[in-house]
């Protein structure tokens, strides 16, 4: 049996920043998993978002489903310049560390648009699931997480894994 599920790279923030990138991602895996742990934000007004291959065009869309302990919500965004992956409704926490897992299946194929799934876990804010589309058939070789208001705080950890199918 083929062994798989390998860490590709890890970034632990030593200072607050509004952007974290993984570049030169090898094409040798089948799927990517981006695990974000101990993540806090300096501003709770905006969700964490994702971009691929430095594309800042309006080629992204997404659907979110979330709950905050009181109510359930869903929303969608179309033709936007990045995809939502964290804190869709209440907004992320500035005090409690939160985790997010992002699944990017078949990231290196060059024939289909790219779809990702994410699960955001904010114990003090909300839990949500997102599906997002990047309308490009390019192989993904760069993943960037951004905030559009404030920063990821120092100590936030981002680890990119690769899974290789047989």
């Amino acid at each position: 049996m083929a062994l798989t599920y390998e860490p590709i790279a890890t970034t632990t923030l030593s200072s607050a920043t509004n952007s974290v990138s993984f570049t030169s991602i090898p094409s040798t895996y089948t799927d990517l998993i981006l695990v974000c742990t101990n993540v806090k934000f300096t501003n709770s007004a905006e969700a964490g978002r994702i971009q691929f291959n430095s594309d800042t065009g309006t080629n992204y869309s997404n659907v979110a489903l979330g709950g905050n302990g009181t109510s359930v919500s869903t929303s969608k965004q179309i033709n936007v310049s990045s995809g939502r992956v964290m804190g869709a409704f209440v907004g992320p926490s500035t005090t409690q560390p939160e985790t997010t897992t992002i699944q990017i299946n078949d990231y290196s194929n060059t024939t289909t648009n790219k779809t990702y799934l994410s699960r955001f876990n904010g114990a003090g804010t909300e839990v949500n699931a997102n599906v997002g589309l990047w309308r490009s058939t390019s192989a993904i070789n760069q993943v960037t997480l951004i905030t559009t208001a404030g920063n990821f705080t120092s100590g936030s950890v981002f680890t990119l894994f690769g899974i290789q199918a047989s």
């Binding site: 599920y5 799927d31 869309s61 078949d106 194929n109 648009n113 699931a129």
Partner: protein
């Protein structure tokens, strides 16, 4: 003890020589099915090894049947029901929770659905994606349980869904089949099966 490496001509104090230790992984690829240009009525994994504790299935799928929006991915364990495409089996039950950007809902499914799927005339080159976990797939003391996160976005139309369900059977799982509920899987659909070990 000293070991002389025939490749480096150097001496080492370990039998590994200049090599790093091989550490077996606990997450292994079992098999992958990728649909070719001829399309496929089903994606099958047979003779699943018994050497793991849990299974994970990861895939992206699209079906060729008519329709512009979303549909469902159907599965069966151990060829139950007997007929491919049968969604009327009473041997499965599950819960689902979804949001499509406009409305959200939840329900109970008595059918063997496990994921979103995309119909044939939806946005070109767009597939549904899913990650499905099947726990304790060999434990004959309880029913076969799964959970799944799936979704598809069509740039104004889409859905993200959480699923959980079980097969009302305690048999060890040795066969897993996926099929569309409308038409065939189109080219580039693919599903991969992984096994997860635990430390003894």
């Amino acid at each position: 003890m000293t070991v002389l490496s025939l490749s480096t001509k150097q001496k080492y104090g370990t039998l590994l020589g200049p090599n790093s230790a091989f550490i077996p992984g606990h997450y292994e690829s079992i098999a992958t099915v990728t649909v070719g240009s001829g399309q496929a009525a089903s994606i099958d994994f047979t003779s699943i090894p018994t050497t793991y504790q849990h299974l994970q299935v990861r895939g992206m799928v699209r079906q060729g049947g008519a329709g512009t929006g979303l549909s469902n991915l159907v599965f069966r364990f151990n060829a139950d029901p007997l007929t491919n495409g049968d969604t009327s089996s009473s041997n499965y039950v599950g819960q689902y929770f979804y949001g499509n950007g406009t409305s959200q809902g939840a329900g109970i499914s008595n059918r063997n659905y496990c994921s979103d799927n995309v119909n044939g005339t939806a946005t070109t080159n767009t597939f549904a994606t899913f990650v499905m976990d099947i726990y304790d797939y060999q434990d004959t003391n309880k029913y076969r349980f799964f959970r799944c996160l799936s979704g598809c976005d069509l740039n104004n139309g889409g859905e993200v869904t959480m699923w959980s369900g079980f097969w009302k059977n305690t048999n060890a799982l040795n066969q897993l089949t996926f099929y569309p509920d409308n038409g065939n899987f189109v080219q580039y659909s693919h599903v991969s099966l992984y096994g997860i070990k635990v430390v003894a």
